[in-house]
Amino acid sequence: MSATKQRLAAEKRMKVERMALDQVDDRINSSSFVQKALDHIFPDHWAFMVGEIAMYCFVVLLVTGTYLALYYTPSSADVVYHPTPGHGYMPLAGQHMSEAYFSTLNLSFDVRAGLVVRQIHHWAAVVFMAAIAFHLCRVFFTGAFRKPRETNYVIGLTLLLVVMLEGFSGYSLPDDLLSGTGLRVVFSIVESIPFIGTWLAFDLWGSGFPGSSLIPRLFVVHEFLFPLLIIGLLSAHLALIWRQGHTDFPAPGKTETNIRGSRVWPQYALKSGALLLFVFGVLALLGGLIQINPIWIYGAYNPYAVSAGSQPDWYVGWLDGAVRLWPHWEFRSFGHEIANPFFPGVLIPGLLFTVMYAWPAIDKRIYRDDAYHNLLDRPRDKPFRTAVGVAAITFFTICTLASATDLLGNDTHIAFERLIEILQIGVFVAPVLAGAIAYKACVALQRTGNHVIMQPVGGILIRTADGAYHTLGDEHHGHGEIHDHVDGNGGGNGRGDGNGGGNGHDDAELEEPVVGGKPQAPGDPNLG
């Protein structure tokens, strides 16, 4: 009885669903796409969520940033602050300040929910960069940047750069003593660039430092240019993930040609929405309970005052640390000079990012691997790559530590001179050491027999440098090799599944002709 009722109700609902979808389909022929979208499969692994966390931080930043923009005035015009007890911050009463700082104070003290939103915004930026950094590490260590995902890696790296600049521009907008000091250093770094430095600095600032044009310009950059760029790059990033499918860790039954995971609808979608709320919730708790960047204590920017402990936000810390660690070298000759900040402030980050951008190509050379990969490496399986990554992380950590030498000195009572000297040596030694240890650890892990859990058919699965899988000691089942379709040495056994049946149809276009019906293998140049 009730079962019948339920079936009837279900049929009724389906009718409504059909009507709604029909309305759309009549117009944009969307049903196949809708179905593919709802059934799209994402592999399950917690490490794959980090990019999503980063994206949701960005959503939080957009929402809170819009609220802040309503109350922020991007202007360097001089105003006098007149708080009244209970409304505003009394220790700054009667002081001259820029309108930017003035409006940030008002935002923090007088606009309802202004401070909590401002702090959520700032914490979101801090966590955003943390998530991006972690995501980059995950992609690097698991070899997710390999063919066919090099482009997406490059887009992601560009996102990292843009978000870093976006974060720094936001940090600079309140025009407090801390951010003004940061801008002063950046002006000097820009100024130090050979040939064009002074021109570039004066073009960016509109005049010498500090000038009155920078704050409005930063606002345009922070509010419009960079967010637009991030939205564009992020869309491309996601579109490529959608089109290429997500990578997955190797496991029994998983191959380069299949994908295992959850469908988007309904669980994944709901959980993903929940993650957005979790991210927002945690950031709201942080924003409400833990103070970040109390600009009222720092005071308005004043170019001849400075505070001890002037540091940038953590994601720029490594640059500040590099600037501290670089020795007192400058080059002067023929009436020109290359000033000190150029080397650690422009050259080193430039070189580092060049290497990072080039890594997919470098990796291809190292492992002679131009094959098509959907299954990830485990870090231990590529000891050299893992070692390079660990060395890079160590380098960034040492540089970041160096940006806090004064605070470390205050804590430990060790002279900052000693700390800097130690870190100057450490910045060379520690990465090499950490890399070597990581290499050894990888090799050791490979031998521990952890692979036993990955036995698909009773043998021990090992993976060769070029991505092929072999099972060892698999006498029972009588075949020593499985899924060798990506064997970069040209040893493909011609089973033909190597490149996925070749017909690669677009999700959205079911009408693609099925040509020949015979799978082809055009995508692997190494096979030839």
Binding site: D44, V50, V127, A130, S262, Q267, I297, W314, G317
Partner: protein, 287 residues
Amino acid sequence: MTFLRRTPRGSGRSRRRVLAGPATLVAIAVAAFAVLSLTGGRSASGATAPVSNDPAVINAGLQLYEVHCQSCHGANGVGGTNGSPELIDAGAAAADWYITTGRMPLNNPADEAIRRHPFFDAQQTEELVAYVNALPAINAKPNMTGPGIPLVAPACVQGTTDQPAGCTTLTMGEQLFSLNCAQCHHEAGSGGMLSKANVIPSLRNATARQVAEAIRIGPKPMPIFGAGELSDEQVSAIANYVQYLHNPEDRGGLGIGHFGPVPEGFVGIILGFGLILLISRLMGNRG
């Protein structure tokens, strides 16, 4: 850095009677030069707290001095052979500051004088300060009088019209602190680091009087700020602002040490991102 605790009270008291003879001589000397010292080279700053001229108090100070200070600073504060400074021109402010912040006495002259729990109690401090204050007279060098203990004007009360006379505002203090103090002590008074392993102390424990004294005496490696740079009112304003910094308005929540972006980064990465990562792990598989 261990500090050998001694109990000064009992021994000082008992010796006071024994040494009554020489002490009277000192008292006479003090009385003779008291007028000179008051009219003579007082520090440039104006209002100072009164320091006892009572010979009995000075005597008590002498007893303490002989036990705890003389081995380094020499008899009558003429300076020691181990490089310890003479104290004749130190003045009451310096004596009060070094003693109340626990920086003196120092076990080993090579140790760094950092803030500790004060070794002497309030009465002993008063006696020692009176003695150091009398040193120019005792040494017959009235021109070497050091700065007296500055009087700190009260801080203005927010939101009332009934203000104490000569009160200083927080905004004046903030401006002066930002210009003169923040570069070393941090804009939030959290402290920092100077060259040659000199730790810049946090100002969280400094009383208004200690702040004013430190400004006037410039305890090395800190520079000195004379009356030509900062008026008494300005010094009071800074001292009162530092009191405010002990508990600044943390409208945003936990202050996490007021050290700026470094602790913020740690909290953001470990607590914020860590928590989110943990949650996404707990959410489990999507399927």
